[in-house]
Each structure stands twice: as structure tokens, then as C-alpha cells.
């Protein structure tokens, strides 16, 4: 009896197995020869409305929409290149900007691109007041001079060319299309752009499909992609398996230890380069002992920078020179860089009145981020040698920010987080984290140095009209920050993207994080 039962169960299992393999083996009938690119993306897209999008959804918007101007990857001859605008100029003090627009461009809905569309797009973004709409704060009026000339009148000087090149909030959309539909419609899987690809379908949390816009003004060549599929895959192991099996063509954020082996494969290539994102530790200027410059300098000397970059980041980072990241204008490797030097740290501590340390510091970081956790652990070990106790506290962003915005006297001593630019300018870093703030937003070190503020504000005013002088001033500002050790500048993060080797033309542009401009690729 029991053998019969066993046989029955085995039989069922075999039948099921056959069924499964038959099903799996059955080829899916597909139309002939379409060139499809698959991007295994790590997160869902919160909001793909171009006026609101301010997150990883730029991976999608950058292919469906275009800006007036594009920021070029570091190492390019020019800082900016023409996008929907062919040329631009400002008046002497950068309070008036005129853009000459490209002619003969159509939006995906068939309507023409013109100055009216530019005015509409900027006004819509400003009006909605969400996401990165604040980048247009200086704009008082957008004038339609004629069909292909748009003039921006500003209430104060601003680098509008840089602003118009932002990867967030600077997208130009079709007025007809956007008027006829609302934000919810866009998020169901549609777009109102002029870019090379159109959104075809969107299964929230799963997959977004884009298809070629045949009438794209740039024209199409052999080998370019017909369709682009964004697959949302949260697990890094699964993403890696997809790349290895050829089920994905592009991905990023894979475990660092596996990158070397991946690159060694014939069918995969790892592209790595510095990004515009860096990791900093903002120091509490309103609570002893970090209100003392000497103590801040001391702990800056106590951090093992090289060790971290070599052993934790495995070389996929570079030590920061101040708050402006590698490769961005305003960056300078002439600036002073703190090095790991416990002797120097001891000296400074003694000078400050803490010869044997004897105090405790609380460092908060984003829970789950292993890199930040390691930063804390390494630092803790070194500070212990100086008699300083470091409590490394992982917190979710919401409570972490909430704590930091509360009374500085009870807030954290050190807040570790990443910064990345909205508008590609040193001002984003400086204004964001180091400018006097009455109501604290992101100046989570509570620094207030009027001299510094004056320099950075002046530099920003000049960034439109005299970029060279602006750069000089930004470097001045950074010198002050570094000298005062107002923050610990850990490292500039590297972007690493992994692509299948048969894909040509990929160049990472850190101004648009993790954006793959599929129009530029071919297989």
C-alpha cells in the first residue's frame, strides 16, 4: 500500500515537473526584430510628473522630456551644451536671460515646440510649488519675444543657464497635452514631452515601458533602441543575476565586492566614475564641545580616510576636498584636506582643554546604509584612542531629520548624510548646508557665519555673469569651511553602472544621477 502511495506522489510530481518545463520552454510569439533595452532599476518611481519629479524618476523623465540646456559630463570642453535652446545670453548682471530656441521640434502629441511652451512649462512648475520648483525662484516673468525666443526677467541675478540644465523641475512640456490632463494621468503612464522616447505603459511598482518617438528632432540611426523597459528590481542579488543572464542590459548599485568579477566577464562592463554626490558629517556648532573649532579640527584629523576608501569603499570613492564634489565646477584639489593624524588630533584637543578627551558625541546616520554605518564604526574606534566616546545611532530619515530640527542643545552632535546638487552649482552645497538659517532646514550643523554667507551669496550672484570670478569666490568660501572644520568632508561617491558589453556609447553624466540617456546608446 505505502509503495503505491509513494508512487502516486512521485507520479504527480513528475507530471507537474513536465508541465512546468513544457510551459517554460514554450516560446512566446513575438514580432520580428525589435531592439529592446532593459534597465533593472533599484527603486520605484514616486512621481513622474515633470513639474514635481525630484527623485529617481529622473531616470524616466530624462528620456521623455528635454531641457533648454544640458550640463555636460566632467572632462567635456564646454560646461553646457544646447538642448531645446540653441544659444543663450544674459545681460550684464544676469538679471535678464534670452534663449534662442531650436526650430522644427514637435512634442509627442504633435504640437509644436516654441517659446509659448517654455513659458507655460516654467510657470506650471513654479505654480505647483512642489519638488524642485524653487530653482526658478528668481524668475519674475517669462516673456515670449517671438515664437522661437524666450526672455526670462529675474528679480535678482541668477545663473539661469545652469538652472535650465537641472535634472529636476526644468523639463519642457507640451501646453496642450498638460492642460488636457492632470498629474494623475501622467502617473498612469503618459508623458507630454519632446524627448526621444515616449512612455508607453506603466505598471506601478513593476515596470515602465518606453517606446521610440519616431518624429524625434534628432533623427534615428541603425542600432538605436526601439523600446526601453524599466524593470523595478529591489534586490541587488537579483539585479546582478539579471545582468549576468542577459535579462537586463543596464543596472547599478550592485554589491561592491562583486564588481571586479563582473567586469572581468566578457559580457558585462563596469563603468565607474566620481558622481556629484558626497558624504558629509555636519557638526553641531551650538553644543559643546563641537562649538570649539579646535575640537572640530581634532576629530577631522581622527578620521581614517584612506582606510575607509580602501577597505570599505573598495576604491569606489575619493576623499573629498571640501563640500564641492570632484569634477563639478567650483571644485579644487588645491584646497586643504585633513589626513588621518592622531598625534595632531591629540595636540588640538589638548589646546582646546580636553587633553584626554573625556566627552561623548552622538552621531546619527541613515539606518540600513552600510557605508555610513562603517564610517561610524571606524571613527568610533579611532576616537576611543583619544578618550572620546562616539555613539553611532542609525535612524530612519524622518526621525533623524526631526531630531536635527529640534533644539540644537539636545540634537545630535554629528549628522552624517549625503548631499547631491539640484542645480549643478557649488551654491547648492553651500547654501543648502552652511548658510545661516532662522528656521533650520538642512543646515543641520547650525552654522551661522555671516562672512561666509556674504561670500557664497556674492558668488551665486556672479555665477551667471562672471563664472570665473564666481568659482574663485566659491573656492574662498570652501577654504573658510575647511579651515573652521565646519563639517567633516568624508568622500565623493563613485557612480558605478554595469552594462552588457554589447551596448555602445555609454558615458555617465553625474549631473543626472543614474540617468541612462538611451538615445545615445546602440547595440
Amino acid at each position: 500500500m505505502r509503495y503505491q502511495d509513494l508512487l502516486k506522489i512521485l507520479g504527480v510530481a513528475v507530471v507537474l515537473g513536465l508541465l512546468v518545463s513544457a510551459c517554460a520552454g514554450a516560446a512566446i510569439p513575438t514580432p520580428p526584430k525589435e531592439n529592446v533595452a532593459i534597465y533593472a532599476h533599484t527603486t520605484t518611481f514616486p512621481d513622474i510628473d515633470p513639474s514635481i519629479s525630484f527623485s529617481n524618476d529622473s531616470a524616466v523623465t530624462s528620456n521623455a522630456y528635454e531641457t533648454l540646456v544640458w550640463y555636460n559630463p566632467p572632462g567635456s570642453e564646454e560646461l553646457l551644451s544646447p538642448g531645446l535652446a540653441t544659444s543663450w545670453e544674459s545681460n550684464e548682471d544676469a538679471t535678464e536671460w534670452t534663449f534662442d530656441l531650436r526650430q522644427g521640434i514637435k512634442f509627442h502629441d504633435g504640437t509644436d515646440f516654441n517659446a509659448e511652451a517654455v513659458k507655460y512649462s516654467v510657470e506650471r512648475t513654479m505654480g505647483m510649488g512642489m519638488g524642485a520648483s524653487y530653482i526658478w525662484d528668481a524668475v519674475e516673468e517669462v516673456e515670449v519675444v517671438d515664437d522661437y525666443t524666450a526672455r526670462f526677467k529675474l528679480s535678482y541675478p541668477a545663473p539661469l543657464d545652469l538652472i535650465a540644465a537641472s535634472g529636476y523641475g526644468a523639463w519642457i512640456m507640451s501646453p496642450t497635452c498638460t492642460e488636457a490632463h492632470d498629474s494623475a494621468w501622467l502617473n498612469e503612464g503618459h508623458d507630454c514631452g519632446s524627448g526621444p522616447y515616449m512612455i508607453e505603459s506603466y505598471e506601478r511598482g513593476q515596470r515602465l515601458v518606453m517606446t521610440r518617438f519616431d518624429d524625434y528632432w534628432g533623427g534615428w540611426k541603425e542600432g538605436q533602441f526601439d523600446k526601453v523597459v524599466f524593470d523595478i528590481v529591489e534586490d541587488p542579488t537579483v539585479r546582478q543575476q539579471m545582468i549576468e543572464a542577459g535579462e537586463a542590459d543596464v543596472t547599478y548599485e550592485l554589491p561592491r565586492e562583486n564588481l571586479e568579477a563582473l567586469d572581468a566577464r566578457e559580457d558585462a562592463t563596469v563603468y565607474t566614475n566620481p558622481s556629484f554626490q558626497n558624504l558629509l558629517g555636519l557638526l553641531n556648532h551650538k553644543k559643546p564641545p563641537l562649538d570649539n573649532k579646535l575640537v572640530r579640527q581634532a576629530i577631522s584629523y581622527a578620521f581614517p580616510y584612506e582606510d575607509l576608501i580602501k577597505s570599505v569603499m573598495k576604491g569606489y570613492a575619493v576623499q573629498a576636498y571640501g563640500p564641492v564634489p570632484t569634477g563639478m565646477w567650483g571644485y579644487s584639489d588645491d584646497l586643504f584636506q585633513y589626513r588621518y593624524d592622531l598625534e595632531k588630533a591629540k595636540e588640538l584637543l589638548a589646546e582646546a582643554g580636553y587633553p584626554n578627551g573625556g566627552f561623548k558625541l552622538v552621531m546619527t546616520y541613515a539606518t540600513g546604509d552600510m557605508d555610513e554605518a562603517q564610517v561610524g564604526e571606524l571613527w568610533k574606534a579611532e576616537l576611543a584612542k583619544l578618550g572620546i566616546e562616539l555613539e553611532v545611532r542609525g535612524m530612519s530619515w524622518e526621525p533623524q531629520w526631526d531630531l536635527a530640527k529640534s533644539d540644537p542643545a539636545v540634537a545630535q552632535d554629528i549628522l552624517v548624510f549625503y548631499w547631491w546638487p539640484d542645480v549643478v552649482s557649488p551654491y547648492s552645497f553651500l547654501r543648502g548646508m552652511f548658510h545661516c538659517e532662522e528656521e533650520i532646514l538642512f543646515n543641520l550643523g547650525y552654522l551661522c557665519n555671516p562672512e561666509l554667507d556674504e561670500i557664497m551669496d556674492r558668488a551665486n550672484e556672479l555665477s551667471g555673469s562672471d563664472r570665473a570670478e564666481a568659482e574663485r569666490l566659491f573656492i574662498e568660501a570652501q577654504k573658510i569651511l575647511i579651515e573652521n572644520a565646519d563639517a567633516v568632508f568624508f568622500y565623493d561617491v563613485n557612480n558605478t553602472h554595469v552594462l552588457r558589453s554589447d551596448i555602445k556609447g555609454y558615458v555617465d553624466n553625474p549631473a543626472y544621477p543614474h540617468v541612462v540617456f538611451f538615445y545615445k546608446l546602440s547595440r
Partner: protein, 340 residues
């Protein structure tokens, strides 16, 4: 009559439960440190943007006014708008809930189809080879961590054998060339109903690994519970009498004995089903399955309180109704059980 009175009373209690859950969740999510107005605006909000958002979201009103407003909208079927995505939550629920129900449903079916027969035969043939193997399977199913099991299955069936896919609900090719028409949101049903055979085959193949991974715990549970209740039942006098009367063993096992033995197992399975609605998060992440678990986790991490509320209420509804259903069914199966 008694039964209907019972049902009405249970439904009234259910409404009370839902109300209490909504109050508790609402007030907890407002007490937790966060800034929903800032979250609404985006990752880099300015002071002005936050102030505007605060008014727009009604966060400047007193807490009880906000609560009443929320409940009012809820009664119209409006779950509110997600603070993180600015999209109506009902849309998200329409995407994630069917996906989860499909996954957990198929998993539960697997647990029933595999677990119950194995449990029955295990109990009937105590200490046989089959019994030992089943018990081993049961222990393994209950003790192995789900995510590890999932990764192993992926490695084996996708990596080594290449016969099952890595994850997601359907292949890219299906989305591109044979898209599933969304009727119920259950790909298996929708594709079958619209005659989309390639999509049906593909969804079936895609659901096997994640559903099985999810089911391993339930299978283990089912085997053990069925086995022990069967052993008890099979020792009853009427079973011996039935055997003496010459009734075939199969009928005795599955018609007489199982009917009495199955009640505790089904209750546990039902609870396991509802738990997995959000508890399947690890399986969802590994198999890139767009489920309620991942959705609510993201909501919790960003303190997206409308979304958290919505999912909590939906899951509560499921708990309440499944419990009610199980109680009614038990009474149906076993006339000795009196309701109320």
C-alpha cells in the same frame, strides 16, 4: 434565524474593530516624529513650500478635525492621497492588492494541495517512511528562513536549471507584445478570461517560485496540524466501525476522518493567509513581486500616513471577514458547534 442574528452581530463588532483600528493608527502616525508637509513637497523642501503644503494637506487643523475629514472621505471610498507619490491611494491599492492576493492565494492553494494529503497519509500511516519524510518536510518548511529559501530556489531553478524565471509577474516580452488586460488584476484570471494564452502560461510559470517560497511555512504547518488531528480522529470508535463495515480506506480518510480533523488546520491556514498579505515582504523583494508588503514598508519608512492607514484598514477588513467566514464554515462543517 440564529445564524443570521449571529452574522449581524459579528458585522457590527467588525465595524467597531475597524473604527478602533483607524483611530489608533491615525493618532499613532501623527505622534511619530516626521514632517508630512515636507515629505509631500519633495526631498529638498524650502520653508515656503512646506508652509504651503501644510495648508494644502489640512495639517494646520486640529487633530480630531483631520480625523473626521479622513473618515468622511473614507466613507466615500476615497483613501486619500499618498504623501510620498501624490497619487490617489486607491490606485495603488488596485495595483498592489490583487498582486498580493494572487500570490498569497496560489501559495495557500499549494499549502492545501500539498500539505493536507501529506498530513492525512502521515497521520494514517504513523511512523512509516512517508510519515518520517513528511515530518522532515514540515520541520524544514517551518524553520527555514523565507528569504534564504527564495534565494536558493532562484539559484537552483533559474541559475542552474534555467527552467523558471528570476522574478516579476510576467516577462518583458509579455508586457510588450501580449499585455494582460487589467480586469481583476489577477494575471492568471485576466489572461485566461481574455484568451491571452501566452500571458497565462507566462504568469503561471512566474508565480510558481514565489508562491512556493511563501507556502513552505504554511505547508509545514498544515502537515503537522493535519497529521496530529488525524491521529486523534482515527482512534475514534466510528472509524473502527466504518472499517469493519468494509468502507474503502480512501473514503474513511478523506470523507469521514478529514472532515472532523480539518477545522483547526483551516483556521490556522486562514490566519496565515491574512498575515501574508503584508508579511510576504521578503518574498516580494526577492522575486520583484509588486505586493502590499513592499508598498506598506516603503510607506512606513517614509511615514506616509495615508498609505499606512489605508493598508492597515484593508488588512483589518480581511482579518475580520476571514475570521467570520471561518467561524461560519466551522459551524457548517460540524453541526455540534453552536454559534454565538
Amino acid at each position: 434565524m440564529r445564524r443570521w442574528a449571529y452574522v449581524v452581530r459579528r458585522l457590527a463588532l467588525a465595524a467597531l474593530v475597524l473604527l478602533s483600528v483607524s483611530v489608533i493608527t491615525f493618532f499613532i502616525s501623527r505622534v511619530v516624529p516626521s514632517d508630512p508637509a515636507a515629505k509631500w513637497v519633495g526631498p529638498r523642501p524650502t520653508k515656503e513650500q512646506i508652509a504651503q503644503a501644510r495648508v494644502k494637506l489640512g495639517l494646520d487643523k486640529p487633530l480630531y478635525v483631520q480625523y473626521l475629514g479622513y473618515m468622511g472621505d473614507l466613507l466615500h471610498g476615497d483613501f486619500g492621497v499618498s504623501v510620498r507619490t501624490h497619487q490617489p491611494i486607491i490606485r495603488d491599492l488596485q495595483t498592489y492588492l490583487p498582486a498580493t492576493l494572487e500570490l498569497v492565494g496560489v501559495g495557500t492553494i499549494m499549502a492545501v494541495v500539498i500539505g493536507i494529503p501529506l498530513g492525512v497519509f502521515s497521520g494514517a500511516k504513523k511512523n512509516s517512511l512517508l510519515d518520517h519524510l513528511s515530518r522532515l518536510l514540515a520541520i524544514a518548511g517551518v524553520s527555514m528562513p523565507t528569504f534564504w529559501m527564495g534565494l536558493l530556489l532562484q539559484l537552483f531553478f533559474f541559475g542552474k536549471l534555467g527552467i523558471l524565471p528570476l522574478g516579476s509577474r510576467v516577462d518583458n516580452a509579455i508586457t510588450l507584445y501580449h499585455p494582460v488586460q487589467q480586469i481583476t488584476g489577477f494575471y492568471l484570471i485576466d489572461s485566461l478570461v481574455t484568451g491571452n494564452l501566452p500571458a497565462f502560461r507566462n504568469s503561471l510559470v512566474h508565480i510558481i517560485l514565489p508562491a512556493f517560497t511563501l507556502a513552505t511555512y504554511a505547508i509545514g504547518l498544515t502537515i503537522r496540524m493535519t497529521r496530529s488531528t488525524m491521529i486523534e480522529v482515527l482512534e475514534e470508535g466510528y472509524i473502527t466501525a466504518a472499517r469493519a463495515a468494509g468502507i474503502p480506506e480512501r473514503t474513511i480518510l478523506f470523507r469521514l476522518a478529514l472532515k472532523n480533523a480539518i477545522i483547526p488546520t483551516l483556521t490556522v491556514l486562514a490566519l496565515s493567509f491574512v498575515y501574508s498579505l503584508t508579511g510576504a515582504i521578503l518574498v516580494e523583494v526577492i522575486f520583484s513581486w509588486p505586493g502590499l508588503g513592499s508598498y506598506v514598508t516603503e510607506a512606513i519608512l517614509s511615514v506616509d500616513f495615508p498609505a499606512i492607514m489605508a493598508v492597515t484598514l484593508v488588512v483589518t477588513v480581511f482579518y475580520v471577514f476571514i475570521n467570520l467566514f471561518m467561524d461560519l464554515w466551522q459551524a457548517f462543517l460540524d453541526p455540534r458547534i453552536t454559534l454565538g
